[in-house]
Symmetry: C2
Subunit: 325 residues, 2 copies
């Protein structure tokens, strides 16, 4: 434990605050945990926060005449869909980016103390300006939330038959729209301008795609048809965008291979499967289960490194599992 | 095997055609599989197809003066991201909806034969009009694909730092945008009007959200603020829409509980975990791994029925696993 982190006051006993307190306790830091205590806050030598928007609170603190030399705005990226202290865990920040946004006024001791805090929580410090941070999270977190909600909103009065045709694709596109709308409205309003820019761009692309589709007329549609070119261009750009998102270990997701195994929907089936997989010595990067609504079988998808495919499929096939690439 | 399915000609040896042929072979049906054979097609007694759009090909067949009494348009919902015969499997349609769209001219023998085909492939026949089918898939499949692409397209020139902050939410929202843009452009153009209607509605909601955000101004934003009300309304509607998507066994996903276990990233770890889970007698509905980029641990998320939570967590904790709800 660095000297700068001999003790800490954590104000706010929700998911993040309690998880930080747990992580610091594990590392021997003396922690006071409180939900609201202005006196304790006044005694502190340095400050950080964990809000997901950074420029606005910094402007507000500056406008209030606060001393900014000891304040280092922070944002741990540790998304969970649950909240509250019951969901807290000491390893919540493990290996996840933790943005800190010191300004020109910030003192080096304050920065060092907050970096030590991040390391104590086993997060990865990422140093960037507050405005740039806000543009980044608008793009990769805040705008996607609204896009998912806008697609999901179309389902509220959909016929049951249509929803019965839904597959994993629709579930994935709309999943994050399940969040707390009150909290998200606050976040969006606090990062209004950067989110508005991304949403306006997405809305314009979708409006252009809708217009192009409305004008296509009957097929055949040659590749030079302007509507076809516009649609194909948007889909190509989307495909290129997805390819840029880093996966586990920073490697692009597409470098991995997927092996499929048909499993019965009963206790012990996955244990038997992973027993064989484990004995083969192959490390499984990710798993998923493809659903078969209404039926007692499914398909387990095992994501592994491409050079392990032969070893895993041979081991599974030898043990009698129906395997497919 | 029903008499009507003594033999079948499958024209098209891609993922779907080869999977149908495999399924029929398993059930003792004599199958001819060919990529293009007008002579074989002329000899057949009944016809179906597997295109994901139904009204347009029906109109085209009608305009060509085809005999529609023996043609039953069909669409098996068996999405896979891979394609081609190598990805084919006899159980591709297992428990998945398979839409058939007979019209007023369709003969009852043809319908019976196609229903028998669907049952042979262990799919679930869903009978609905061609226009309604096209509106349904526009909503739950075609439009979500374009929405995912439009969001992902914003990432093509994003700074690397922004992408480093990406979490599972962004990955899920954009995942399906990785598909084949040429094939998808064809599908979208063939179902142009219904897709255009959904996209225009999503674009309008996003444009309104962008405009509301651009007008919010500095906080505090009271709940009656028109921008706040508009945003909150869209997010609430999105949340309600997601809740309507059926999960495994037709039950809403939110009825399930999730138990989290910290795992090391090494061979055999999942086998040991599922060994204990299997011995507890609890059936695991779904699994996921939460990534810790760059680090050798992760969190396995086990989705189970809520009444199994106590049993599973006790069994895991007794075996020394760090468990959380």
């Amino acid at each position: 434990v660095p000297a700068s982190l001999g003790s800490a006051v954590v104000i706010g006993t929700g998911l993040i605050g309690t998880s930080i307190a747990l992580a610091l306790c594990e590392r021997g830091v003396t922690v006071w945990l409180t939900d609201h205590d202005p006196a304790a806050a006044r005694l502190a030598h340095w400050y950080t926060d964990v809000a997901s928007v950074k420029a606005l609170p910094l402007r507000q603190a500056s406008a209030l005449g606060c001393d900014l030399t000891s304040f280092v705005p922070g944002h741990p990226l540790s998304g969970r869909e649950r909240s509250g202290p019951a969901a807290a865990r000491a390893d919540l920040f493990l290996g996840r980016p933790w943005v800190i946004c010191p300004g020109p006024q910030t003192g080096p001791e304050a920065i060092a103390a907050v970096v030590a805090l991040v390391r104590c929580c086993r997060g990865e410090p990422v140093q960037v300006g507050a405005d740039e941070h806000d543009r980044w999270v608008a793009l990769v977190s805040h705008a996607p939330h609204v896009v998912a909600a806008a697609m999901a909103a179309q389902l509220t009065d959909a016929p049951g038959g249509a929803l019965g045709l839904a597959g994993q694709g629709l579930r994935d596109v709309t999943r994050i729209a399940e969040g707390d709308s009150g909290l998200w409205t606050q976040i969006l309003a606090a990062n209004a301008a950067p989110v508005a820019r991304v949403l306006a761009a997405v809305a314009a692309d979708l409006a252009a795609a809708a217009e192009a589709l409305a004008e296509t007329g009957a097929p055949p549609h040659p590749a030079e048809h302007p509507s076809v070119k516009l649609l194909m261009g948007l889909l190509d750009e989307g495909s290129a965008g997805v390819a840029r998102i880093p996966g586990k270990r920073g490697a692009p997701v597409r470098d991995n291979a997927v092996v499929q195994v048909v499993i019965r929907d009963q206790p012990g089936e996955l244990a038997r499967l992973f027993q064989v997989a484990g004995e083969s010595g192959v490390n499984i990067e990710d798993i998923g289960i493809e659903h078969s609504p209404g039926l007692p079988v499914g398909v387990a998808e095992l994501t592994i490194r491409p050079d392990s495919v032969a070893r895993l499929t041979q081991a599974l096939a030898a043990a009698g599992w129906p395997v497919r690439r």
